[in-house]
């Protein structure tokens, strides 16, 4: 595998190798000098067609801690927004000598297009493509959950998976690349995933996914999940009749104070709360829940750097990750 495009096609062994490597990177991040020489002389381009400061600085920190040269290319507002094509941009980056391109793009499949055409030969990391996937987000979520799960078991997290963990993902699944990447990855790692959403915000075809689907958040909480992952919801969705009002959405699918308190009533001392950020407090999550000891939000951010270091390291340190290079990502000729 030369690229990280999705978790849908990520094997359990590859996922665990990334998470284990991220543990090693995390140890670096705990040191006073947070720097490794591993990617010295390599060039990583952050190619962002969407504003996402959080993700961009996470990748930037990851690449710099591996001593790579980093170029930030905010395509929004540049020649690209004046009509330059993705192909031309990619070929420009190829000419510059990019070794890896981290791409964030509003179009589903944009990362795969870069990886499977002959526009560019660099390793491609999908940093979020439309409503398709956001694999490094899922990996950092899995990393965070794995640490928590291993701690409860009293074992080191290295080499372990999420077998038996019950994870409930709540919110706008239809438009969420985070939800998709997490469903594939968490189930690959052995977790039991339940999706909770208004039926309008679940894709047609979701019944074929390897997870359970529920409409009632309270019942899902009564099922005693080990983790609850809240997804961001855009208030504008109500204008397209996905739900009647933000108030109704909050009452039925928000993690408000009452539902948060219910976790304690059920004796779920170890149930954690995740959110990919940025949070819309008061809509999908209350401040009480977001700022509680259950919240993993800041740990997720810190772990994000470790996971992205691991991904860049494994993709760019040739050999380490080449053993399962598959025909699935073989170049197709772009005539």
């Amino acid at each position: 595998m030369r690229h990280l495009l999705s978790t849908h096609d990520l094997s359990r062994a590859d996922a665990i190798r990334i998470l284990d490597t991220a543990e090693e990177m995390s140890a670096v991040n705990d040191r006073e000098v947070k720097k490794l020489p591993a990617l010295r002389g390599r060039t990583v381009v952050n190619l962002f067609f969407e504003d996402s400061t959080r993700t961009r600085i996470s990748f930037e920190a990851a690449a710099k801690r591996l001593s790579a040269d980093v170029i930030n290319f905010a395509a929004k507002g540049s020649s690209v927004s004046k009509g330059e094509s993705l192909k031309d941009t990619a070929q420009t980056l190829e000419a510059i000598g990019a070794d890896a391109v981290v791409i964030r793009h509003p179009a589903s499949g944009a990362a795969q297009r870069l990886a499977t055409t002959d526009w560019i030969s660099a390793a491609v990391v999908n940093a979020g493509d439309g409503t398709h996937e956001h694999p490094t987000q899922a990996l950092l979520d899995a990393f965070t959950l794995r640490r928590h799960w291993a701690k409860l078991a009293g074992t080191p997290s290295g080499g372990t998976d999420l077998a038996g963990a019950k994870v409930t993902i709540v919110g706008d699944v239809l438009h969420s690349r985070v939800a998709r990447s997490n469903v594939w990855l968490l189930t690959t790692l052995g977790a039991q995933v339940t999706l909770v959403a208004p039926p309008t915000l679940l894709p047609i075809g979701v019944e074929h996914w390897p997870c359970t689907v529920a409409y009632d958040f309270d019942e899902a909480i009564d099922a005693k999940p080990d983790a609850i992952m809240m997804l961001r919801v855009q208030a504008e969705r109500m204008n397209a009749s996905y739900f009647p009002s933000t108030g109704e959405y909050s009452r039925r699918w928000g993690l408000g104070d009452e539902r948060f308190a219910r976790l304690a009533e059920l004796g779920l001392a170890d149930t954690v709360i995740l959110h990919p950020g940025p949070m819309v407090r008061g809509l999908e999550i209350s401040s009480t829940a977001a700022d509680s000891a259950r919240s993993q939000v800041l740990r997720q951010v810190a772990n994000g750097v470790s996971v992205r270091m691991a991904v860049l390291y494994l993709l760019l340190s040739s050999g380490l990750y080449a053993q399962d290079a598959t025909a699935a990502h073989a170049k197709e000729s772009a005539s």
């Binding site: 849908h8 094509s85 589903s108 499977t116 409503t131 690349r177 047609i204």
Partner: protein
Amino acid sequence: MTEPTRFLLSGASLYGERTADILVADGRIAEVGTGLDASGASVVDADGLVALPGLVDVHTHLREPGREDAETVETGTRAAALGGYTAVHAMANSNPVADTAGVVEQVQTLGRRAGWAEVRPVGAVTVGLAGEQLAELGAMADSAAAVRMFSDDGICVHDPVLMRRALEYVKAFDGVVAQHAQEPRLTAGAQMNEGIVSAVLGLPGWPAVAEESIIARDVLLAAHVGSRLHVCHVSTAGSVEIIRWAKARGIDVTAEVTPHHLWLTDELARTYNPVYKVNPPLRTDDDVQALRAALADGTIDVVGTDHAPHPSEHKECEWAQAAMGMTGLETALSVVQHTMVESGLMTWRDVARTMSEVPARIGRVADQGRPIAAGEPAHLTLVDPAARWTVDPAVQATKGRNSPFAGRELPGRVVATFYAGHPTVLDGALNTPHPAAESAGAR
């Protein structure tokens, strides 16, 4: 230079049924029989070749005027000839839109000058394809182009009142409304078939119901006002059921399926390669099987290519940014042979019916789709069913490089195409346009 006008097609298999010679002279079939006298005629060895009436496409995008970078009447009709076609219906979504007598006459003239096939302009139903006001359908019908098929193809005539009026109005000149059935609100931003694959890919879905609901409405409207309706590019199993029901009720509806919908499925979208992006989208294998069965049993009347060439930059991009459409003229017959003939669902006689005779009848093209018999116009296609070839868009006559069959090996090769007695294609390669082309009026 004088070109020969007498041809003896020796030993052809008529409709794949019986072997005979065909003598072509002065634009007509002079004689059909065995052991015909070849004197004074150029002999075309048709041994092992199936002779069909020249193919007629009810659904072609020639792009001219306005998008000559994508295709011209010249390049599009060259592609048509190579695909075995002697007539194509040029869809109205050019720029300017073919919504006036002037534009349809211009397109027809371009076709006559090119001389590779008969170009039958399709008139827009509404002014500028805007779906608000009827175009001057009568003026287009009365023009030199004698338009009989009207369509806003690319866009659905979704306003039910406007659709009703169009259906009623074209009765005055034996016209037909060819509907691109797509409920616009249900398909806003749609990128591919809505289903298992779109859920995984995170691409906005184009649900089958958006096609089926319009077809259901339109067959009821056609019944109510007693008009003739043609449904473009049927793509779902549900649409087939509705059309089957309508025909059983005696409603005057015809339907078309594209070659790509007879074969390809939405699984191909997993590549995110926009060469597989088309409207209506590729559906599921269940839909493909239903469409094949419907074409075989006559529920779907014709194969229409929906040949839709695009400049490469409109496909070498992200899926969502890419244009919808596929080329099809040069692969249609081979795809039909593969999906329908070699699967045992249809005979070559059925191919003649669905790719020539009925398309000509729907478009009211008087001298196309005729029997292979003495006295008939000599529009003929000779196909070698035993040939195998690999699709290479770079060597096709169309300007479009967007063939979804690129790299696939297909059966069947068009060896010769006779348009009004003249070989536009010989030995599988372009020959010359009809000699009457220069003076316009290759009839």
